[in-house]
């Protein structure tokens, strides 16, 4: 008896100790095993693309401006933001900051890991294309951050966001870079990307040489740099404008005539304004935008506003003007409601970019009028009158009006107003759109045209320079 008990005790002692405390996460991808081959790098790249949260841009540019109003199904969603309440903890600001830095961090991780991957000769092209895309994605993420967080596009010494060219050590903090440094960095990354990408890599669902050209043009636009016109012309030469039928089909993902870069999507983009289950809109198109589209009366009215008579409830609709219900229709869904690819760069933007630079960098008002006419003719499917402008302000206003219609709900409106506010003024809503809440005017001088450095960043880095007004 005695001995048996002691033996039992000793045995139980031995099956203990290390078995209980040496537990490794066998089920996890540890850094040692994650990036070992070119196909692993490709999966890493797939992860970087997946973090390209362009929806944050669409959200910001539509709601913070004059393109939406509270919808009939509103339960208060996004209303404080619509009313320009912009604390440093704003979820929409944090989303922009976080998602682009997440994307940059992800790209940096794969770029750094690529050094240790053995690449065979027949993998070299694929490997280079992966790197080219990674640098291109890193550049475009920095571009987005720059557009929101810099106080001044033209003052090269103004503060921009932070340049992140490597995976940081976790406790590191960083000061903001200047606008000039940011432009240099973006262009340098674009040059690196261009060097890696093979000529055969031209799927417009991914970063291609053409996208890089377009992004260089966008940077030139921010700097009032006339070289952007040449870059835009390069793309205009390659991509025809869609005719009205092609244009309408494009937003059902059935035509790519003028798409330079698109982001594939499998989740509803329309959720930015709709409860996607019920198709109840908590936000609708603004009367301001509707009136503009109705005045132009071309294919863009039906593309942006749901005017279809078939009551397809799942896609939101239909619009009922008598009840002042105006529904956004840019992402009606292809096979699933509200699920559409995002057209992140179209050639029509290059026409608008060219026209804007013709006004601002060259004061070539007739040239701008001609550029706009080309776009309008395509949208109307018929000849439109050539505008004449008394001065550059009038010309720029016309470009902006055209941009508003052409790029509505595509992540442009707020940045367009910000870029030209000193000439054209701030945000001015149609009184019907701001009847509830009363926030109708955001003057050009308002500090909120530059976003605050989010509270989450300030918490980590209390000495970072906050933008004025916050």
């Amino acid at each position: 008896m005695n001995n048996k008990f002691i033996v039992l005790m000793i045995v139980s002692l031995f099956f203990a100790c290390n078995d209980a405390i040496e537990i490794v996460p066998e089920d996890e991808f540890t850094p040692e095993i994650t990036f070992e081959s070119v196909s692993d790098l490709q999966q890493g790249l797939n992860g970087v693309y997946a973090q390209y949260n362009f929806e944050a841009d669409i959200t910001y540019n539509s709601i913070f401006t004059d393109n939406v109003k509270p919808g009939y199904a509103s339960g208060g969603q996004q209303i404080p933001f619509f009313n320009w309440l912009l604390p440093t903890s704003s979820g929409n600001v944090t989303a922009l900051w976080n998602s682009y830095y997440d994307m940059i961090n992800a790209a940096n991780r794969v770029i750094e890991a690529s050094v240790f991957v053995d690449v065979s000769a027949d993998e070299q092209v694929a490997f280079n294309d992966i790197l080219g895309q990674l640098y291109g994605l890193r550049a475009v993420a920095h571009y987005h951050l720059h557009t929101y967080f810099t106080t001044d596009y033209l003052d090269e010494s103004a503060l921009s966001a932070i340049i992140s060219d490597r995976v940081p050590v976790v406790t590191e903090v960083f000061a903001r870079n200047t606008t000039g440094e940011m432009y240099d960095f973006i262009l340098e990354d674009l040059a690196t990307a261009s060097g890696f990408l093979s000529s055969g890599f031209n799927n417009n669902g991914f970063i291609t040489e053409d996208f890089i050209t377009g992004l260089r043009a966008r940077v030139a636009l921010l700097r009032n740099d006339a070289s952007g016109i040449g870059l835009a012309d390069n793309l205009i030469g390659q991509y025809p404008l869609a005719n009205p039928a092609e244009y309408a089909a494009m937003f059902f993902d059935q035509d790519d005539t003028e798409v330079i870069f698109k982001l594939f999507r499998t989740t509803p983009v329309g959720g930015i304004w709709y409860f996607t289950n019920s198709a109840g809109p908590f936000l609708e198109a603004s009367n301001g935008l509707y009136n503009t589209l109705e005045a132009a009366d071309d294919v863009r009215l039906g593309v942006n506003i749901n005017l279809t008579n078939d009551i397809n409830v799942a896609e939101g609709g239909p619009t009922d003007i008598s009840e002042n219900i105006i529904l956004i229709h840019k992402y009606p869904g292809n096979s699933s409601p509200f699920v559409n690819n995002i057209k992140a760069m179209r050639v029509s933007e290059m026409y608008l970019l060219k026209a804007e630079l013709q006004v601002k960098a060259q004061n070539n008002l007739p040239g701008a009028a001609l550029t706009l006419k080309q776009l309008r003719d395509a949208r109307n499917g018929a000849d439109t009158p050539l505008a004449t402008y008394a001065n550059s302000t009038e010309a720029l206003a016309d470009v902006m009006n055209e941009r508003r219609m052409e790029l509505a709900y595509e992540g442009a409106r707020f940045l367009d107003i910000k870029r030209n506010k000193s000439i054209l003024g701030g945000i001015s809503r149609n009184p019907i759109d701001c009847a509830q809440g009363g926030a109708c005017e955001l003057p050009a001088s308002d500090y909120r045209f530059t976003l605050p450095i989010p509270q989450v960043e300030v918490n980590a880095n209390p000495s970072i320079t906050q933008n004025p007004g916050y």
């Binding site: 100790c17 405390i21 797939n46 992860g47 903890s89 960083f174 109840g280 989450v456």
Partner: protein, 1022 residues
């Protein structure tokens, strides 16, 4: 089920009668305490010179077979032993006197010790404080019974979990609840819904460092030790049957919404929503025709039924306790219920030389829980949203008189009542649980004064979660591709298997010589726990048999959703592909520790303990933690100078020690790999597989430690007629596990680190007073306990003074409380224009809401004061017992009320009567409700809906009658008692809602209130 039980009981009755007729003479009686005349359950009644005997039942009653020449010996720890010759008596009632030797034992961990020599802050509760309460969860019944122990139950769902705090909240992100141990097995502190209250013999609450040092690796928040009932060696078979039946109802709701007339009139007044274009006559007509009180549709009286049968007996070397329980409770709203079956077998045995003891405690439990959907959310399927927002001018009926469960059929705000009803009636949200708690233990005195012991325990929980959306329901009909697919509906199940093993091996040396009493133990403890979860989600069901797998539409079914004749490349035209998941987590702790106790002359007591613990949660360098405690006590009443004093007990205690918490993210299985960098595979771009950085590990993570100092005094006067204890403590948590903000350039905003310090200081008191004690007439005794706890954050990460969060209570400030509201002060309504007014940081009025005007409010989600009081009384056979509980200085944001006063929602939903009566309408109106059309305030971080959630509650009241007199000559029924009891009968509170109690959440949002429960009970002993 009920039928089966009745049948079973009949069988038992027959069984019992046979036993009863087998004996010659039966003596019955009641054992009471002489001081207050209250029954003394658990007294051992032995026939002198034999091992025959039994224990008195919960009413202090016993019944024993004897011959006239026998002598009965009555003994109970802490009381003087009484001997009575039987003679011609058939009834022997005994009043027991407290014994100054006070040998009551205290279960302080792996061992027991005598009450007189304990050095720790401990509260012990006996079975009757919890075992007949109609609460489905043991934890609920503990509220207000132990000073310093806060039980917050945030839901009226039968069996709902409670948040349990002992001496304040001791961690920011880590586990804050005490360790629960049942019969030596550490168990899940969040799951008692499957366990049977009736099996509990006593509960010991260990509060200070010296007591919980024995559980140092998990005892940072104290420990609650539950012991279940056992048989007694040498006792005859005793059978006990208990049953309760009753109803539960919603408490009074303490807020009002508009009726049809008021709502339509209001809409007309503000010119929006239905009614704004109606004439007064039309409004009058409509509100006469339809004025629905939606509460009638959704709420019902809940039902409680319980049966419990237990058998205990013992021979000289063997004893058993067996019980069988059934419990059924339906909630006050449709679909919510709990049903459970319990089985227990406790067995003890020993060798004839008393050197070897062993025992097993097994309990097998099965429960089935039906839940409402989206409890505590604004989701339209939540039934507790309905009484707040449902429009009264909508009818609950179809034109043909049947209940309307569709409404508009849309998932929109104004369709709330129909959507909620539709979901409640048609859909399923159920958890089936199998819970097994078992342990075996043995000890052997293998040499003089030396013994060895072993214990092995297992807490096993298997859950099957079932979630079904009927393809024809509002939700189910849009489950696949927004409703645009041939087949609809969801059928999802998830399974979890949680197995926690605990193994303890120890050696003990115990010796008493002269005035010295020394006890030394060393132990090793091994803990390992495994959680496996898996599940599937099928969308697309054949509506005929949608509850079963045979209805699943195959995943390769192609739906040509855009009618182009080809399958979309993105896979979206294969909508029936099911989802699956699988996960496994393993956690382990290994410890060794020693405890030394020494008592000199029964006056001076000392205890010391030290332990080393290693947790699998931490990297090698920080894995081991060392925890220790020292404590002492002095029995002043045993000193010579106290001779002749009124004190029969006076003891001074002091303790100091360090305990640890490795559950640094709270959950039992949380932070299992927080020290590792990990990537994860997920859905990448364009339906590809992508690799994502998942976690940045922190190799420096380590144990949170709690250092606690405690001083206490225990006292008893006039032979314990008045007794109680007072404790003061200071509890400091260091190395708090917190989020350390990092730059977003890392791809995350925070990483986890051990930073900061939190302090809880407080005092506790218990007092009991036997005012009148007359075993034949009227007896009454009073009891009260209370505690005060002051919580303060004393250090934050990086030495900063404040870490501001974007939520109501997630800002932290040095010198502030944890869970304190940081908000803009609400200053009412501007009489000039009806707009909301706030205070800026300087206290000036402003109409602009700005987060930079937030200030510390000194109001926290955790209470400062807590306690309970009541009385127990008896007269002849009648008993009346009450228990009140209270919490004070506790605050909570009333988000539900915010919704019904929101001027932005009045066109969509019903609103508060205050909108109708008090809303600002014209300049000069002085009111608290801003004008119609003003912006919504409820989601802003203001104090507008920050309400005092203090309450005083008549937690439990029981009126009983004991048939002792009537049954004294009965030969097989030994005892019978009937009683009526009410739980939560009356609540006094300023809170504007149904229920001021919560699980210390920072905001209420259409939560399921705890209910009033009325039951009728019967208790029979054979």
């Amino acid at each position: 089920m009920k039928l089966k039980l009745t049948w079973l009981l009949t069988l038992f009755m027959a069984f019992v009668m046979q036993f009863s007729f087998a004996q010659e003479k039966t003596v019955t009686g009641t054992v009471t305490t002489a001081s207050d005349g209250l029954p003394l359950p658990g007294t051992t009644v032995l026939v002198k010179g034999t091992s025959r005997g039994q224990q008195t039942d919960f009413d202090g009653k016993y019944s024993i077979q004897v011959t006239p020449s026998d002598v009965l010996v009555f003994s109970f720890v802490g009381f003087a032993t009484v001997e009575r010759p039987v003679g011609a008596n058939t009834t022997i009632n005994v009043g027991m006197n407290e014994d100054n030797t006070l040998d009551e034992v205290v279960v302080t961990g792996f061992t027991t010790e005598k009450r007189t020599t304990t050095t720790s802050a401990v509260t012990t509760l006996s079975a009757e404080t919890v075992d007949s309460r109609p609460n489905a969860s043991i934890a609920t019944a503990l509220q207000g019974q132990v000073p310093g122990l806060n039980i917050g139950t945030g839901s009226g769902q039968p069996g709902a979990n409670s948040v349990i705090l002992l001496r304040g909240v001791g961690s920011i992100n880590g586990n804050i609840e005490p360790l629960f141990v049942i019969d030596g097995v550490p168990v899940d502190e969040d799951n008692f819904r499957s366990l049977n209250n009736n099996d509990i013999a006593n509960i010991t609450v260990l509060k200070d460092a010296s007591a919980s040092a024995l559980y140092g690796n998990r005892g940072a928040n104290g420990a609650i030790i539950i012991t279940t009932k056992k048989g007694t060696f040498g006792s005859d078979l005793a059978i006990n049957y208990r049953s309760q039946f009753g109803y539960s109802v919603l408490p009074d709701k303490n807020f009002d919404v508009m009726n049809s007339f008021q709502k339509l009139t209001y809409n007309k007044r503000v010119g929006s929503g239905f009614g704004s274009n109606l004439t007064d006559a039309e409004i009058a007509t409509i509100s006469r025709q339809t004025n629905t009180d939606w509460e009638d549709v959704f709420f019902r009286p809940g039902e409680t039924i319980s049966h419990n049968l237990s058998l205990s007996s013992g021979s000289e070397l063997f004893s058993t306790f067996t019980s069988l329980g059934y419990f059924e409770q339906s909630g006050v709203t449709l679909r919510s219920d709990l049903q459970r079956f319990n089985l227990r077998s406790n067995v003890s045995g020993k060798s004839s030389n008393n050197k070897f003891n062993y025992g097993t405690n097994l309990s097998l439990n099965f429960s089935e829980n039906n839940f409402i959907q989206n409890e505590g959310t604004g989701n339209l399927s939540n039934p507790f949203l309905v009484p707040y927002v449902a429009l009264p001018y909508f009818s609950q009926f179809n034109p043909d008189g049947t209940l309307n469960t569709v409404g508009s059929g849309l998932d929109t705000f104004d369709n709330t009542p129909y959507t909620a009803l539709n979901n409640t009636v048609l859909n399923t949200n159920r958890v089936e649980e199998i819970k097994f708690i078992g342990s075996i233990n043995a000890d052997y005195e293998f040499a003089k004064n030396l013994s060895a012991s072993i214990r092995f325990g297992l807490d096993y929980t298997y859950n099957r979660g079932i979630f079904i959306e009927d393809p024809t329901s509002v939700y189910g009909s849009t489950a696949v591709n927004g409703g645009d697919a041939e087949f609809q509906g969801t059928n999802a199940e998830n399974y979890s298997r949680d197995a926690r093993f605990n193994n303890l091996v120890g050696l003990n040396y115990n010796n008493v010589w002269g005035d010295h009493d020394l006890d030394v133990s060393v132990f090793t403890e091994y803990n390992k726990s495994y959680l496996n979860t898996s599940g599937f989600t099928q969308v697309g069901l054949n509506p005929k048999i949608f509850e079963f797998g045979t209805s699943f539409i195959p995943g390769d079914t192609f739906e040509d959703l855009n009618d182009d004749g080809v399958a979309a490349l993105d896979g979206s035209e294969f909508p029936y592909i099911p989802g699956i998941s699988l996960n496994e987590i393993t956690i382990g702790i290994f410890s060794y520790f020693g405890v030394l106790r020494y008592t000199y002359d029964d006056k001076y007591n000392f205890q010391g303990s030290v332990r080393r613990d290693a947790s699998s949660r931490f990297a090698e360098s920080n894995r081991w933690g060392t925890f220790w405690s020292v404590s002492g006590s002095w029995n002043i009443n045993k000193e010579g100078f106290m001779d002749g004093s009124v004190f029969n007990n006076l003891k001074l205690r002091a303790s100091y020690g360090v305990t640890g918490n490795d559950r640094i993210t709270g959950g039992y299985y949380g932070s299992d790999d927080a020290t590792f960098d990990t990537y994860a595979q997920g859905s990448g771009y364009n339906n590809s597989v992508g690799l994502f950085a998942n976690q940045i590990g922190n190799r420096d993570l380590k144990w949170e430690t709690v250092t606690q100092t405690n001083f206490g005094i225990d006292f008893g006067l006039w032979n314990n007629k008045l007794n109680g204890s007072i404790d003061v403590y200071n509890k400091v948590t260091d190395d708090l596990f917190q989020s350390q903000p990092v730059s977003a350039l890392n791809g995350v905003n925070t990483i986890s680190a051990n930073l900061g310090q939190l302090t809880n200081k407080g005092a506790e008191a218990v007092i009991n007073y036997s005012a009148i004690s007359n075993p034949d007439g009227f007896s009454i005794s009073f009891f009260a306990n209370g505690s005060y706890n002051e919580n303060e954050i004393t250090e934050l990460p990086n030495g900063v003074d404040e870490v501001l969060g974007g939520g109501r209570t997630n800002s932290l400030g040095v010198g502030e409380k944890l869970g304190e509201y940081f908000a803009v002060i609400w200053a009412g309504v501007n009489p000039a224009n009806g707009q909301p007014l706030y205070r800026d940081v300087d206290g000036n009025l402003t109409e602009t809401y700005n987060l930079s005007n937030r200030v510390w409010t000194d109001k926290s989600v955790y209470p400062t004061y807590q306690g309970g009081f009541g009385f127990n009384s008896a007269f002849k056979g009648f008993t009346l017992d009450t228990q009140f509980s209270f919490v004070a200085d506790i605050y909570r944001y009333n988000g539900s009320l915010g919704v019904i006063e929101d001027p932005g929602l009045t066109t969509l939903s019903n609103g508060s009567l205050a909108l109708f009566n008090d809303q600002w309408q014209q300049p000069g109106d002085v009111t608290g409700i801003p004008r119609a059309g003003s912006t919504s305030v409820r989601n802003l971080l203001t104090t507008r809906y920050l309400e005092d959630a203090s309450f005083l509650r008549l937690r439990n009241i029981v009126l009983g009658y004991n048939f002792a007199e009537a049954l004294k000559d009965a030969n097989f029924i030994k005892g019978a008692k009937v009683y009526v009891q009410a739980e939560n009968l009356i609540t006094w509170s300023k809170w504007r809602g149904w229920d001021p109690e919560s699980s210390f959440r920072n905001s209420d949002f259409f939560d399921y209130p705890t209910t009033k429960i009325f039951t009728l009970g019967v208790d029979l002993t054979f």
